[in-house]
Symmetry: D2
Subunit: 510 residues, 4 copies
């Protein structure tokens, strides 16, 4: 699989192909032409008297200090060194790849004037699997300069990289691949570091995970409502059309697909008339997550295909001008909102799971015990999932405004973007445990209820889960069951099967 990067058409899907499925990349010719003419402009301007940030003058507070042409290589190397200030833990391989592809594609917009050898190095690193070790923390989310510098370090043949499964000196990996360290020229240091590629790259991965977890949650819901013997009329098209919220309608449609063929389809209005809101409102709640995903997607897709640094080359007028193109507040806040939407999804899952334990709502045994007086079954398991939900409640507290005024008070705005993205990833991870526990309950309930006519989607989930975790006949340590359920839900084969069977919520141009 080969993906052509052109600075304009990178999608979440193609990014994931590169980061997770090792797709090879090419750079489009047009992009190369843009890079060349920008580089030419850089050299032209380097002889002018106009001060240009990070180029003919220093960066940050040091913008009042001139950088002389003869020191370009030294200055830019020092800039890389002085920016290598991030703190562990290191990024995972796919995250490092996402950072590199995000930075590379933005460079292809031709707005930085970076030298072509550096651009080629990104491509070489990605295609050869040379992954610089990047400590993940230390960016305040207004250009991830403290982290991206570690990519520059590796390109200089210094520091360490993760290469073919081992941690080796960057110089060794370069040599093994026949690559020569780059020699930085004017403006190259800043072009490497001045970007939000850490947040954007890891954000793209997390956004993809968020979409998947909604669809998995829909499948779990489908099994749960079967376990409850619940009322699925709220999923009918008519009331949802009357409401007019597109995402609610879309979720209801996927859920109808998942429940297609289920015994619940044949029931009229159930005797309970209305199930608890955690069941009844599923299309609206999961729809709110979808809306948040689409919000982030709208802006992140723009971000991945545009310059995100400062200053900006204006080819028409042959200028390099200061700007605020690293600004990402809109999509960072989108991630904060997404976290809150996922927290609603989480709470609903928790409440559904509690209901599935309760004979008043299910008509089944207490705690879904196969033998109430003897087997304690899901008696204590309400603690772990509510405890994990409490962590989610904590994670959704906002952090984007909690920055300092630094660099001689010049950098007095920030977003804490990488941490916001990381919080979202943690929310999703916890959610898989919570949904796993819900699925354990749902499967136990349908077994106790001897459901045979599953919906198409709930059947896929049920069978995958029962392959890994048998019916709870007697008490056994459940920590292991929880872990297995987590693994079933996060296995990529499940989401693929579900999408194949019941359709997907994936937005256009994903």
């Amino acid at each position: 699989m080969t993906i052509i990067l052109d600075g304009a058409s990178l999608t979440i899907q193609s990014l994931i192909d590169i980061t997770h499925h090792q797709a090879q990349i090419e750079i489009s010719e047009e992009a190369f032409e843009r890079l060349k003419s920008s580089r030419t402009l850089v050299f032209k301007l380097s002889e002018s008297d106009v001060p240009i940030y990070g180029f003919t003058v220093g960066v940050g507070w040091n913008k009042d200090k001139k950088v002389f042409g003869r020191y370009f290589a030294e200055y830019n190397r020092n800039l890389i060194y002085a920016h290598c200030v991030s703190v562990g833990p290191y990024l995972k391989e796919e995250e490092t790849r996402a950072v590199m592809v995000s930075r590379l594609n933005a460079l292809l917009s031709g707005r930085t004037g970076i030298q072509l050898e550096v651009v080629e190095m990104y491509k070489a690193f990605l295609n050869a699997g040379i992954h610089p070790r990047i400590p993940s923390r230390g960016s305040v989310g207004e250009a991830d300069i403290a982290n991206l510098s570690h990519i520059g370090l590796a390109m200089l043949g210094e520091g360490e990289v993760d290469y073919k499964g081992r941690i080796v000196p960057a110089a060794d990996a370069l040599m093994a691949e026949g690559l020569k360290p780059v020699v930085l020229g004017p403006k190259d240091g800043l072009s490497i570091v001045s970007s939000s590629a850490l947040a954007a790259g890891t954000g793209a991965i997390v956004l993809d995970q968020a979409l998947k977890v909604v669809e998995i949650a829909n499948a779990v819901y489908a099994l749960s409502v079967e376990g409850l013997d619940g009322n699925i009329t709220p999923l009918r098209p008519e009331p949802n059309m009357a409401r007019g919220m597109p995402s609610q309608s879309a979720c209801a449609a996927q859920l109808r697909g998942m429940l297609s063929g289920s015994y619940l389809e044949k029931k009229g209005i159930s005797k309970t008339l209305q199930d608890p809101l955690s069941f009844r409102c599923v299309a609206g709640i999961h729809g709110a997550v979808l809306d948040a995903i689409e919000y982030v997607h709208r802006f992140l897709a723009i971000h991945l295909n545009a310059t995100d640094d400062n200053p900006c080359i204006i080819p028409e007028s042959e200028e390099i001008i200061s700007c605020c193109n690293f600004e990402i507040t809109n999509w960072v806040l989108g991630f904060e909102m997404l976290g809150q939407a996922l927290a609603h999804l989480s709470r609903s899952a928790c409440h559904r799971t509690i209901k599935l334990s309760d004979p008043y709502f299910t008509g089944l045994s207490r705690f879904l015990s196969p033998d109430e007086g003897v087997v304690q079954a899901f008696q204590t398991i309400q603690k772990p999932f509510t405890a994990l939900d409490a962590e989610i409640r904590h994670l959704i507290n906002p952090v984007s405004t909690d920055y300092y005024s630094v660099a001689g008070e010049i950098e007095d705005h920030a977003t804490n973007a990488p941490f916001v993205v990381q919080k979202t990833a943690k929310i999703i991870d916890n959610l898989y445990y919570i949904l796993g526990i819900e699925a354990l309950h749902a499967a136990q309930a349908v077994d106790l209820r001897r459901v045979t006519a599953h919906g198409k989607g709930s059947k896929v989930l049920y069978e995958s889960l029962r392959d890994a975790v048998p019916f709870l006949e007697q008490d056994r340590p459940l920590s292991y069951d929880i872990q297995k359920a987590y693994e079933v839900l996060t296995d990529s084969s499940l989401i693929e099967s579900i999408r194949k069977t019941a359709g997907t919520l994936m937005p256009e141009n994903w």
Copy 2:
């Protein structure tokens, strides 16, 4: 001014005309026809055996209790009584109007089967200015039943209303207007209370305020950057187009409009090359607020023109079915995001104001004193605006997931929507103080700098402010100046002048 409500075309603007400018309302004929046929269906179904929530059976946990036809009036009156449980303070007049118009327009979708006399009563209340006293707190944001009931109470001729500037018994106001109390029939109680009209109506007002505060903030920025003698190249179209974020470009465009004619237009790149981010990133930061506003607007506009209650009449199949159409999680989270975006706007305003006090950045005197050794000027004023910003930081903490499982554990999802809206209103109010203080600094700075060539927008603001607050020649108690600046900024004439002069950011179909 008369506005025709039809259940489908209510905009923020027309709502504001009704709530703040006393526009009279009419109800479209089509809407009336829908209401009639729904009511007919209600009577038809009341004779069937199908249990219908809040109609032939009780509400909440009492959905297992049958409601007999002969008790419809008594049952529905009791339902209104039992739902009058909200807690003060009372809504303001314009808020009460917004709640009524929001509920009325949703009823016109014909999904509730409410009797026409009740619908007429909403219209009469709005047109005659009968405003039921509604205690504002007590809703968990999943249908504002505890508050909307107070409108029903007034329609029954009970409780109190605000009428022609006085608090009088509802019965007196009805009599004065020649209105008879309604006699509730089947399903009427639920149709009155089962709606998020409190959150939606007050939300519409707050959303309008949010848009205005961004534009005011742009005007204040324009004056500040003149006060700083700052660099406005980041507002040029080229770098913003390179970035491609529509809202950033839109803000930059309005700001260019505001600064059109300013002395800053003639300067090249300033000697400082790049101003602090609080100045440089204004288009991106204010753009993020705009994006959040558009997100809320998209869904709130749907909400205001669709059913938001349960159950839902499906005329095609002559059914009333349970659903989750009161679901509003998506736009409630939008308000939470909007609050966070406004917090960024606030912090930037604070940092700009600090910079305007600092000779290092302005080249002017310390604390903008007209006589440094003698006049202390804006020495201590940094405390109040940062203290108000700390309140904003506190207000943006999320609250939508903090609900209980109530009503016999059936209501296990909620949003705390009215409180979220109210938090946003408080953020905006604080912001006007913060921006007022920024404007005091900016005006002092341009005076010290003897700026004469203002931009078109900054000139409007400067002159309005200087009409109310003179140059700080000697120390004086500044609490009064702050209050006056707040009043200048919140006066509707200012936003009108600014929009007239420099264009508006108002989205389509507002």
Copy 3:
């Protein structure tokens, strides 16, 4: 009643006597002697060359500017003006009194060198009831300089005061009382403003309210557990002694006092064996509030009787040295903890109230209806109290670390103390509504249960409540009942009766 202030023995109780019960104050002779000798030292040092903060040099960033002796009056008046920067709403009368008495008592420690006429003015203002109008917001909690300045303004005969129930110019009130405006001398401005008296004074009031609300909550609990027909063995001394937590034991003891004579005393272990934790853990949860109160009290009592400003006179060595005696982080964090403890109290009250509505736990009717099919009773009331609890959940979010670096980056630490105190007050106010609703349930439950043998404390509460709110025989608008219950619980006569009947939790030296 007359209270002698000496700078060393002010208690919460005596402060409340002054603020709420108009006790007159005297100043001890020893304190006067200290003031005199400090003032003498000030004049002595004013002739030396040693720079002294806010005295011979300016304040804040202006500490590098010399203040010349001949300008002392003008400089100090300007200092007062420039510090009048706080923002409304205005403090209430008792709060203003608390601020003045707090500041006055700290001045008596003789650490500021303030002139005696100013000290006399505090006393005159308190004794004559001249209350300067102080806008409440604008302090970052590191000396409330922006607010305390308004007291100085009134002493200068400027600004407005609240005097004998009317808002009048300060000059008029001074004249009416035969007082002459003060003429400020060296260091007086700073001595008036450099103090955390706003936070400390209002904090003392709030702390007293916190103690009362715990005791009221204990009384409400006692009535609730009677309504539940619950198990009171967890209140027995033995298990609490086994635990060894003093506050848990103290709460259990007060609760035993409240329940002394109750029908519950005669029951053995109830058939339910263990009540829900919201009932069972009451002594521990309320004990945690007590512990937080004692923590704040310990440090606030020190604060009220010591200098809280900078610089500090050292009489032994005849120096005035810079220090950090305005530091209050420890007790501000105590207030944050107290808020969280109260939130636990609130949640438990909410859960108890939900249980009292539930036949499964009470054996009574659903929603405590006197006639289940006909009267809806406390069906919807679960929304308001959980909504108010959600506000409390929001209020407990911390704010003390959210400050800026201001005043030329010199003031880079703060606490937001006044806002923290105000948050706590709001929590307590909401709590009274929540507890009021619990009390309504508890009273209804004991009536349905026909309890006659109340405990001593629950009887006091029951009778007070039933004087204001009758048994719910038929549905009626409950907003009014809620308001009445709130008034019963906040009326000072109730807490007095309860303390008289069942003892108090008031700590030593309160």
Copy 4:
């Protein structure tokens, strides 16, 4: 080293000796006698008709189900199984030890009636180094039943343990040590799981770390103030005594000890008169941390030496009664407060570090560069430490009230204690990075200033740091320096040297 456990005298220090330094334990004879007589009582009561929670009847919602004597072994084994529901990651070895010693010591109070063989097993596990694998998450902090069960599992010879550095089946480790799996009898299951030993044990470790980090922070401060050439008069005893806050005075005293001999001692009042508050207020801010530590310590010390479960044996009256002795809200809130206090410490460290980079405050070069135009030095490093501080700001958000009502609505109060403890540990870990970076600045500053006369404590720190990280002569990747500084600060030898040199803040009876 051998420590005798008696249920009454376990201190933080002795716990650390057991957990970190492998001290062997013995059980006192008196404790054994108590255990025996409690066990006798259990058997006696097992024949009575009185229902006893978790003994003759089930736990949680199942308290309405009888447990018959002949099923005691099976019931209790099932109880262990059904409670093994916690979620990874696993506890670290020293944490597992802390959990076991905490549970064991509480059992020795003789309030549970556990069989002696189980008690012996705790001792054997600790002394032989058999460490059950305990997934760390899943407790809501109201008895850590979901986690402690895993200890029971290992005692049954099931599940896995960490033994001599390897993960092995529990059965293998038992066999290797000649231990036989326990056979559970009446009440044993509950006695193993019903305790907050996870939170208390790990909490004791974290509390010890909190104390250490304050003292390390004092040492870093001492070096920083030397780097600043700052004013240390605020540390003098006189102004601190005037204030009267014991913890502020204690910190000032330790700081004077650390700075004893420093060149700063000889200076009079510096020309800057007053340093920024981040420097000046150190004694008050660090004192606030100390106060929070003492608050937690007071209650945790009680907790570690008392029963923390339910029900409770009352030997005097031969009863087992339901109670709330697992209640820990007071000290959980103490940890929340401690986190907030540490956040203040963190922010001050960040602000001090910013100041050390700023020539305006230091008189040294910008970013402490040894050659301003050429070496960029600490230019970018302000991002990582403020980013880590933003994480701390996020971590201090409260979580203790965010619980559900579970177990058939009976468990409607909780504290999330283990997560609160874990948050505090994370705060401390981040703090060490932040302080490490401050120390790098401080050392660079004293080197640039050519300080030779260090204080006693600052000298210890300076030398330890310079052994690991040389002076920054030229730009180099600083991530490595940061990591080394972190290691220097967390190395136990440093805290020991500092305490030896300058005294300790360790409270009495630690």
